[in-house]
């Protein structure tokens, strides 16, 4: 196949650093995610996963370094790009706590994904056209919760709310989806469901997905590549299949238990280290 023009990476992070008064949250993070990839971001709690994703969406300014998404600058040397809203319209963000507006109907929460495209006078009157509402309902149908469309978001279960958040990414036609522990507050069944939907959006719509996870087994199951953070540093960037309990033990020491919990006891998941590709041990 001809590939004269190489597609630019979906996400490019160079030398990103962020220090909070209490701790160094990100320490010289370098990361490139190609278009169409689905990457897991793992790490114990406090390792900097949320902080990294929030930097990519331009919610927080870093101390140093730069981030580009879809070949456009998000932030550079501590200042966020002035046209960040245009870029955010292309990035779908899924939060652990769903971040829906509880008192608005589910369908309105999904329509929020269109705000950037709807003319301002119409969005400030909260008026959406029939075809826009149609689009929102189709997105809700795609994640399987169309029959709750006119209920308040608060009345949905956690799993359903998270699917509504994914429907919002769908109407947004996000090219990049950043999901910050989307399954951490869900029961196992809903968790699988949400991960399947993310994988499907990656496969069928070509969305680039970066999903932060607390448990390694989901990374291994759904993402080919895993980036591991530890105290704000990238300590591993390579195939998920190579993430054995031994390797995690090496990377995280005592914290490792938090990450693979049940994995230790499940022999099915014990993959010999030499079977995977050689892990790129950073640091």
């Amino acid at each position: 196949m001809m590939n004269s023009q190489p597609t630019p990476p979906a996400i490019e992070i160079r030398r990103l650093g962020k220090t909070f008064p209490s701790c160094k949250a990100l320490d010289d993070v370098n990361l490139t995610v190609a278009t169409g990839e689905m990457v897991a971001l793992i790490g114990a709690s406090g390792s900097g996963k949320s902080t990294l994703l929030r930097h990519i969406a331009g919610f927080v300014a870093a101390d140093a370094g730069e981030i580009a998404v879809l070949d456009r600058v998000v932030q550079q040397d501590g200042s966020i790009a002035p046209d960040i809203r245009a870029l955010r319209a292309q990035i779908g963000f899924v939060f652990q706590q769903f971040n829906l507006v509880n008192r608005l109907p589910v369908v309105t929460n999904v329509l929020v994904g269109l705000l950037y495209r709807v003319p301002v006078w119409r969005s400030l009157l909260m008026r959406f056209t029939v075809s826009e509402r149609q689009r929102a309902l189709e997105a809700l149908a795609a994640v399987g919760i169309e029959k709750f469309a006119w209920q308040r978001a608060a009345t949905l279960s956690g799993g359903q709310q998270q699917r509504a958040a994914l429907a919002r990414c769908l109407v947004q036609e996000a090219k990049v989806i950043l999901a910050d522990e989307p399954i951490a507050s869900l029961d196992p069944e809903s968790a699988r469901n949400v991960m399947e939907l993310l994988a499907q959006m990656n496969r069928e719509r070509g969305c680039t997905v970066v999903v932060s996870l607390h448990q390694v087994e989901f990374a291994i199951k759904y993402c080919r590549r895993t980036v591991a953070l530890h105290r704000g540093r990238v300590v591993y960037d390579g195939p998920s299949a190579a993430l054995t309990p031994q390797l995690l033990g090496e990377l995280y020491g005592a914290d490792a238990e938090e990450l693979f919990g049940m994995m230790l006891d499940s022999p099915a998941l014990k993959i010999p280290a030499d079977k995977g590709m050689a892990p790129l041990l950073a640091a």
């Binding site: 955010r88 706590q97 769903f98 507006v101 509880n102 705000l115 950037y116 969005s123």
Partner: protein, 265 residues
Amino acid sequence: MATVPSVQEVSLRPPPAGIGATLAWGVFFLVLIWSWQGADMRPFDLLKDSDNMRVFAREFFPPDFHEWRIYLEEMVVTVHIAIWGTVLAIVCAIPCGLMSAENLAPVWVYQPMRRLMDACRAINEMVFAMLFIVAVGLGPFAGVLALWVHTTGVLAKLFAEAVEAIDPRPVEGVRATGANALEEILYGVIPQVLPLWISYSLYRFESNVRSASVLGIVGAGGIGVVLHEVIRGFEYAQTAAVLIIIIVSVTLIDLVSARIRQWAI
């Protein structure tokens, strides 16, 4: 790693109340004693003059309802004043409240706005009414303007406090889609604060009906005008009738408004 304290190291008794609490009570009682003089407190006069008081109280009964049509008409005017004063205040308190909220507005907006609202609130409706009478003449409209200005100050503060207590996460969810600041407020903030805002507005309406019933004393229309006339004419039986009408109307409005509040939330 912090060491875990063992049970033996922690005292079973709560720590003793500090010197601060004792001092605060002391200051409180000193203030009470100091204010006794200024407030001209004479509790024994109440006992000494109890016969006079009884005679005075008897003059109120039986209440004289001969002019009830006029009283009722003026009471309705009072409610009309309260309605317009409150509605205009709500309309103004929305932008002023949003601009006084620390989590929405930059410091150079919310500080001046808060001071302006403090000023509106600090001056009583009666004072505003007297000032507006000079500007627009005697009558209900001066009362509407007085309630409007004062209530804007009150509601803007309450609205801003509600906004400052919101959950920021849904707002961030809206921001993540590329929405602008106004859209963030409309889709992320307002839905969260709306029940509280409605509740505060209804409370203020109730309290404005009470305020409007005395605004007439300075000439700003409504039942207060009648009240002022009958008291000045020593018509205590009629005064009693007017007071009963005020009490019944205010109670009714409180009940209805409480119902609406429940239903709105």
